[in-house]
Symmetry: C2
Subunit: 796 residues, 2 copies
């Protein structure tokens, strides 16, 4: 693979936010955000870090109502490091002229380097070079190395190495009026002569967070200070040192940081562990070496090489993998963390968990299945909360929330702001009950990829059964049409949250919701077959699932309603055909980018509810998640006419009516086109690829990368272009390489075997590098055995 070093030169505050979004340095445990607030001073101090899965309760007063949500918590900023002449302003962009600024992100090594040159009013120039990383190997450790050179002067300089707990959730402009300060001081202390420690606590969730920092100085030709001052304020602790700079001589400041929280296993107390481990930590170079070994191993498993004549494609694709590995890593397995929609990168969506796993787990299933298992167990731990939500709604089984946080309760906002109109609007998106099918789908596909029957027995089966039960109970029988219906929900397309002019939210019989419910009910019955008989009986007894209830599941999955119109177009929901067609042309002319049509229309006093428009894939999600065979079977079981020609007509119909207002939408459309129209698939793929790199939504990237969309591009390459599918104890390979792609290669792990895949010109070759037993491989319909140490070749 070509150079993975991403370089940025110059210093353009307007572009800074975007550039820094590429710079997340974390590992699913202890992440350093890249998105910078506008305040220039922060550009040297660096913003705060935050903890995966750590939330605080946020009570806001919006539109005169009190709204309570969970909010992400930033942890104290361990990167804080300032330098100034005695009695003068610090060298930072706010107070001093910046004559050069460059930073480099090495995604292969996960190290961020920066170089800045300052010139003060007296013309004195200071060069600041930094390297930093959050260790993948030692998840409680991070390190910052800063080298200073006084280029054209000598004299005293005061350094302050701090842990700053006065961090705010200020990363998202439109949230700034909400409560954004979540930390309370507990204590601070100097643990050793060169180690300081700050212990804070989140104000509502009472999670203790301790950080310790060991600061050491190294220099050539410079007197190193022997004394340092210990500084302590509310939520702030620092060491202050006076250095005598000599022209041209380097002074290196090594900051080794540790972080522990009260949720960590295997500790005594967070501040004790943070102090102890910081005091005895190895130096920067040793920690870095260890970090690099772990990243090398992670890349061994995860790298995708793609050749399409452009360096950029592979680089961005692997940048997406990089962000994925930053958010979820081996270290995630030890935490109770889900996959937030914006990764660990930005504050948008407050760190809430949506359905993004649906796009992320396919990659992990074939790389690090232990991680999928851990992420599915995150859902299992919230099963009781989902059961409670169902019972409150008068339903059975488990009803997982559309947005959730640490407690697993519904965290979807009840009001949202339209920045275009300035109005706060009721938000019904918690009615996206389809997230339950996504969770069941993830479990079933993990099981297909790994044959991990222990997981199904112990955790996964129970979730699938409870979700099936929820679908059966929310379905109501309509005697008139002799069909079951699911009323008053929202589909994935968030442009339709009610019928035009209706007082109550939701639409009826969203086709995606209903068909996926039927799919889940079928898989629940499969699950009972797949489980050992005794375990199946135990589960039924534990959950109180009777034979009559199983009959109802079977009946619902055979008789749920799917609305149609125009001879074979699946209606997105009941009554969709009665909506008006939208005047795409005139709106595009008037507004240019109309991907957030909901905001535009609401500002005009109109509503997307009135039109045949979609923010993102809804009906077509079915073609993304289900194979043509699966869908044929579902439709046949339901007694509906269906065929491949109809699928194409549906795709065309909905694509004409989609605004792609979500970054995920293009991923889905690329996928569905790959079956029939490789050119269009490739175009959508390229669009999806640059969503964050080019910040196509105009500012949302600095609020956090779109992890689902990033992972979706990787999934596209794996599942769609490379054509990999796992089912029926077999590895299916049915490639659909776009003409632009001349070469593609990567490794997968399938049921304990490690397989290397290579697509070159018109040939696919597979090599099982390791494995205990042969696996069945089906390439473009031809089945064969692949044995350990052996290779197979197929023409495309």
């Amino acid at each position: 693979m070509s150079d993975w070093q991403l370089n940025y030169r110059g210093f353009d505050p307007a572009q800074q936010g975007l550039r820094e979004t590429l710079c997340t340095l974390g590992n699913g445990y202890f992440a350093t955000r890249g998105a910078l607030p506008e305040c220039a001073a922060d550009q040297v101090h660096y913003p705060a870090t935050y903890i995966a899965g750590t939330y605080n309760r946020l009570t806001s007063h919006i539109a005169g109502r009190s709204i309570e949500n969970e909010d992400l918590v930033n942890v104290p900023n361990w990167l804080s490091l300032t330098f100034r002449h005695p009695d003068r302003s610090p060298f930072d962009p706010q107070h001093t002229e910046v004559i050069h600024h460059q930073f480099d992100l090495d995604i292969r090594r996960a190290v961020l380097s920066r170089q800045t040159r300052y010139r003060d009013e007296q013309g004195r120039m200071l060069r600041v070079t930094q390297r930093r990383f959050v260790s993948l190997r030692d998840p409680h450790h991070a390190a910052l190395e800063t080298t200073l050179v006084a280029e054209n002067w000598s004299g005293p300089l005061t350094l302050q190495s701090a842990i700053d707990g006065t961090v705010l959730n200020a990363g998202v402009q439109r949230y700034r009026d909400l409560a954004n300060d979540h930390l309370e001081m507990v204590s601070a202390h100097q643990a050793t002569p060169d180690t300081i420690c700050l212990l804070v606590q989140t104000s509502q969730s009472r999670i203790a967070v301790a950080e310790a920092v060991r600061t050491r100085l190294y220099g050539t030709g410079t007197d190193m200070p022997e004394e340092r001052a210990y500084v302590e304020h509310d939520r702030f602790v620092a060491h202050r040192l006076d250095v005598e700079m000599r022209q041209g001589a380097e002074v290196t400041i090594e900051k080794i940081a540790t972080i522990f929280t009260s949720r960590d296993a295997g500790i005594s107390e967070p501040s004790i562990d943070a102090s102890n481990w910081a005091a005895v930590a190895p130096g920067f170079d040793t920690l870095l070496d260890r970090h690099l070994v772990s990243w090398r191993h992670a890349w061994n498993r995860s790298e995708i090489a793609i050749g399409d004549g452009e360096n950029k494609t592979g680089r961005v694709l692997n940048l997406h993998i990089f962000h994925l590995l930053q958010t979820v890593s081996k270290n995630t397995v030890e935490t109770d963390a889900g996959v937030p929609a914006r990764g660990l990168h930005g504050e948008a969506y407050r760190g809430h968990i949506f359905w993004d796993e649906l796009f992320i787990l396919p990659f992990l299933n074939l790389r690090v299945p232990e991680l999928t298992r851990a992420l599915l167990r995150y859902r299992y731990r919230r099963l009781d909360q989902a059961r409670y939500a169902a019972s409150l709604a008068g339903l059975s089984g488990a009803m997982y929330p559309w947005q959730s946080g640490s407690s697993g309760r519904e965290e979807t906002q009840r009001y949202h702001l339209n920045p275009d109109s300035g109005r706060w609007l009721p938000d019904a998106s918690h009615l996206q009950r389809h997230i339950n099918s996504a969770i069941a789908y993830n479990i079933w596909h993990y099981y297909q990829a790994t044959a991990d029957s222990e997981f199904l027995r112990f955790w996964g089966g129970e979730i699938i059964l409870e979700i099936a039960r929820f679908w059966a109970s929310i379905s109501t029988y309509n005697r008139t049409i002799d069909r079951y219906e699911i009323l008053a929900v929202m589909g994935p397309d968030e442009y339709h949250d009610a019928y035009p002019g209706a007082d109550t939210p939701g639409v009826d019989n969203n086709a995606y919701t209903n068909l996926m419910a039927a799919w889940v009910l079928a898989r629940a019955l499969d699950t009972l077959e797949a489980l050992p008989h005794r375990r199946a009986e135990e589960l039924k007894e534990k959950l109180g699932v009777s034979a009559e209830e199983l009959n109802r599941w079977d009946h619902v999955r055979r008789r749920i309603k799917v609305p149609f119109h125009d001879q074979g177009i699946i209606s997105q929901f009941d009554g969709y055909e009665d909506l008006d067609e939208f005047d795409w042309l005139s709106y595009t002319e008037r507004y240019g980018d109309i991907s957030r049509l909901d905001r535009i229309l609401e500002a005009e006093g109109d509503s997307t509810n009135r039109y045949k428009v979609a923010k993102q894939a809804d009906v077509v999600m079915l073609f993304y998640l289900l194979s043509p065979n699966d869908l044929d079977e579902l439709m046949m079981t339901l007694g509906y006419e269906w065929g491949a020609d109809l699928m194409e007509r549906n795709i065309d119909y909905y694509e004409e009516r989609t605004a792609h207002g979500s970054t995920l939408s293009r991923v889905v459309h690329a996928w569905i086109h790959s079956r029939t129209d490789c050119e269009r698939a490739w175009e959508h793929f390229k669009d999806a690829l640059v969503a964050d790199v080019a910040d196509v939504q105009g500012g949302t990237t600095r609020e956090g990368i779109h992890l689902g969309a990033m992972a979706g591009t990787v999934d596209l390459v794996q599942r769609c272009f490379a054509g990999i599918d796992t089912r029926a104890d077999m590895l299916f390979i049915d490639p659909r390489l776009p003409a632009e792609v001349s070469h593609l290669s990567f490794d997968i792990q399938f049921r304990g075997c490690q397989i290397h895949l290579d697509y070159l010109d018109d040939e696919v070759s597979l090599r099982m590098d390791e494995g205990l037993s042969p696996v069945s491989v089906n390439v473009s319909g031809v089945a064969q055995e692949l044995a350990p140490g052996c290779s197979l070749r197929f023409g495309l």
Copy 2:
């Protein structure tokens, strides 16, 4: 199986402690201790509960020195319930005459019932009937149902239903002078009109613990109070209600409790979750039904039926299994909990983790392997701490501590009290480095039983390699004898902590330690073979294991020293043969029970170090852990003469010199005799079986059951009498049923298959009730396939 109801009648305070030790009601998450302090009032209030794996730092001043250890934390007592006439003393054993007291423990249902009748000075009689359980199904929930009947009077009665956080660690007499109060008040509140909540925090480890209690009253023919008073003191919260009792009418008080701590996953904040869930919890009967279903499923997997003509054998054996299931259950998988030596039952050893898993995991491996995996991951989470301990000692790899708590650091006491002499004595038992081999052994045997290569790849392999590395680095080469030596350690026999009169602790070349080190080194090399090649290379790179280092491992395992004397007796350690023989006869005559010979001799100014005596199995542990084949191979590799005849001679030699001062000792001796002398094996087994039930150590049971010894008796039945072993992808069955046992049957799970075993008269039958594929079975040397749904029969 016969009646599992254990009944105790009468009220004998002297016997009360012992009886209550049978009454642990917990599930590995939220346990109710049985051991009662002497204070009679507590006999109705019940003592506190405590949390698995939650420790607090305890600083004590012993013999003029400050000693810091981790101490178990009791959580607030949710059982607190008192009743009194207005303005009179409460009805409790301290203030009122007890005319009847009985309690029943139903181990099949894990429900404790009690009935007490009081008569006050006026002759008024009150009957109190209670049922209680800590739910296995809903691990945050517990319930207490109390029914009161005023037998011969009517009138007002004041009830107080409390959560009492003023609990002390007072369960062990000899610890009472140490710090024993570990909770600090945070807050209390009334969450709903019938729900109260107390939030406390452990004083050093800062773990927040919230309990909530919902109290409801039900009665027939009695006016139920509509009002209740809310009472709040420091660390105490209660609801107080006035009831009008009518003669003969029942008043039932239902207390539903919840507990959450800051270490729990999937919560918002402990007191919020405790309050919310208590307020909406189902009633006693529904919670109980759910609890019973879970216990029924647990027993399906775990019950052992044994017929030896005595009801007691099976009942006590299953009581041991009951305690095991109370301490570690499916719920343990979600906690960071190890297996404490006294289970969750008593405060002795402060809840520390020793090597007891060695005796406990064999049972779990073949029942709930997910649980073994979780318990081994508890060790993995403390691998960095073990590495640090090794590096502090100037060694490589990982050195796990003999006793440990939440942080994984060494917690072995440095001084211990001899109650016979009243002297505090230096304690060198942290030198029991052999615990490292036990951990490696557990991992290897879990892998053998389950073929779980994912675990080996992800967690287990790394621990085995780091322990091997530790053994290689602690071994020193002695040029004179051309052998490696391990100096200054302690073996499992704690009677020898130094050479007679020596200033420094430890003995050299403890045979058990050295041979197990050789075994671990061999398994480490096997591990590198068993791992996928790439993973093996990655691990070596991660840990920095070089080819030279591997050579050294191989060299040490071939050349480590094993001391011998008397033509084939393995010396317990270098110089053992020079120790004096002990005058067993005269000491037995003088002292009766001499199982704690160390205390007796020390009180006389003598020391066990001078004699050929053992507290418990040391050399003979080798015969317990290693098969004759394994040991032959180890000895051959080392170039020592060895054979079956020598094993017998060694067993006889050491049995004559063992005091059985540990409850584990008889388990080991029963096992080793089973190979050659079934009668003696059966005697030892029966002795081991009653260790806690009869409190053979005279008082230690009330300080907590001996979980390792309990599990050891179960392991004996499974591994020794039933002769089950798993290795080389095969299920070996080589029964050695004592003549007394006419029938034995139980289920096991082997590599995902569920197999029922039945030993009746001279026949063994195996039936695979479930399984995906056949397994290889080797019964008494004859290999066969056992397919799903099929049976096999063998003569014994």
